[in-house]
Symmetry: C2
Subunit: 218 residues, 2 copies
């Protein structure tokens, strides 16, 4: 698949209708869309890099950032088609930005559109992009208190990924507290521990995405 990086700018728009249209269009094509949300440095891009390298499905990536195309450059190195969306200060992606990025994108043969939202645990959870599932990405060094401190995302996400578990040996992180709070907020979410560095948990995460793709098409 060709590699491409395009810089786009944010404009304000009411866009619930756009999100609904994106969801309908992608569903008709049998394409899954996932909205990855987490703090700056939670490991969203690293998770995508290891997912794209190991996955049996075909992906495209939309990279949301306040500034720079660094993450898109990282994704492009995996050989995956990636479009950078720069919000120019905006703290979250909105559906009209996703719509513009998807415009003219060749989706034949594509199984999944991964959207990496702007690094932010608060605002992105408020905006529907037309995705099938929100995925919460939280890293071990952020500490185990994040689900209750940022409940909106953790309540809504269909999967919660605890990343950088390779650092558990160096940090005093209470997993029982973390997962207990996640279960209290959202007992039906998929719950996974991953280390993109070591590859741990990545096959299980890929299997979840694969099930979601098949479920959407069945």
């Amino acid at each position: 698949m060709p590699r491409r990086i395009v810089i786009q700018q944010s404009v304000m728009a009411a866009d619930e209708k756009i999100a609904a249209r994106i969801r309908k269009d992608l569903s008709q094509r049998g394409v899954l869309m996932l909205n990855l949300i987490g703090s700056p440095g939670a490991g969203k891009t690293a998770l995508l890099e290891s997912t794209l390298t190991g996955a049996p499905f075909r992906s495209v990536v939309l990279e949301g950032d306040v500034a720079t195309s660094r993450d898109a450059e990282r994704i492009a190195r995996t050989g995956t088609l990636v479009i950078q969306i720069n919000t120019k200060g905006g703290c979250h992606l909105e559906a009209h930005l996703v719509d513009k990025a998807l415009e003219g994108l060749e989706l034949d043969g594509v199984d999944v559109v991964f959207v990496e939202n702007v690094g932010n645990l608060v605002c992105p959870a408020e905006f529907d992009l037309g995705e099938d599932h929100k995925v919460a990405v939280c890293s071990v060094p952020e500490g185990p208190d994040k689900p209750l401190k940022y409940p909106h995302l953790f309540s809504q996400a269909d999967a919660v990924l605890l990343t950088k578990v390779d650092l558990l040996e160096h940090l005093d992180f209470d997993r029982d507290l973390f997962w207990g709070d996640v279960k209290d907020l959202n007992p039906r979410a998929q719950m996974l521990e991953v280390s993109a560095l070591r590859g741990e948990g990545v096959p299980e995460w890929i299997a979840v995405v694969d099930r979601w793709i098949r479920g959407k098409r069945s």
Copy 2:
């Protein structure tokens, strides 16, 4: 100093005038106000805990969070007067919330008001709370690419603190890249590396705050 925890709620208000009034009021009293901004889990509360324990100045703390009073409870254990501000979903503090928190607070004998903003590297940088200085707090596990990816905060902050430097030995973190980008964005900022866990860099940070307090009163 007595310990107190109060939960407050966010209401929307245009509040540049409120910020200007807070700045004027605190200046007349010779009280410094600092606005600490960083990602969720960057170590803002831990930095405050070690600052409050070791500092020669008298402090009060305003704790901004989307939800819970966990951080205020941690600060209260240091014996410092703390007021929790819950934004109930809001992604940043605004001046009217700070104003309400300061209302009725006994500031005689207080040297500095520390405001810990909501964990978010984007939105809090946009809102003036009436502080003397914004302080950017970024942790080693977030990765060295954060200054260029979130340039607004790093350009504005009068101090940039790289936290959790005890994790440098376990992570591939390019300090030259991080500090080079900070210097490009903001050459006049105070630049400090700290480990709240080990106490490293905390005396130097306390010295910066102390200089700011003296500078304000001279």
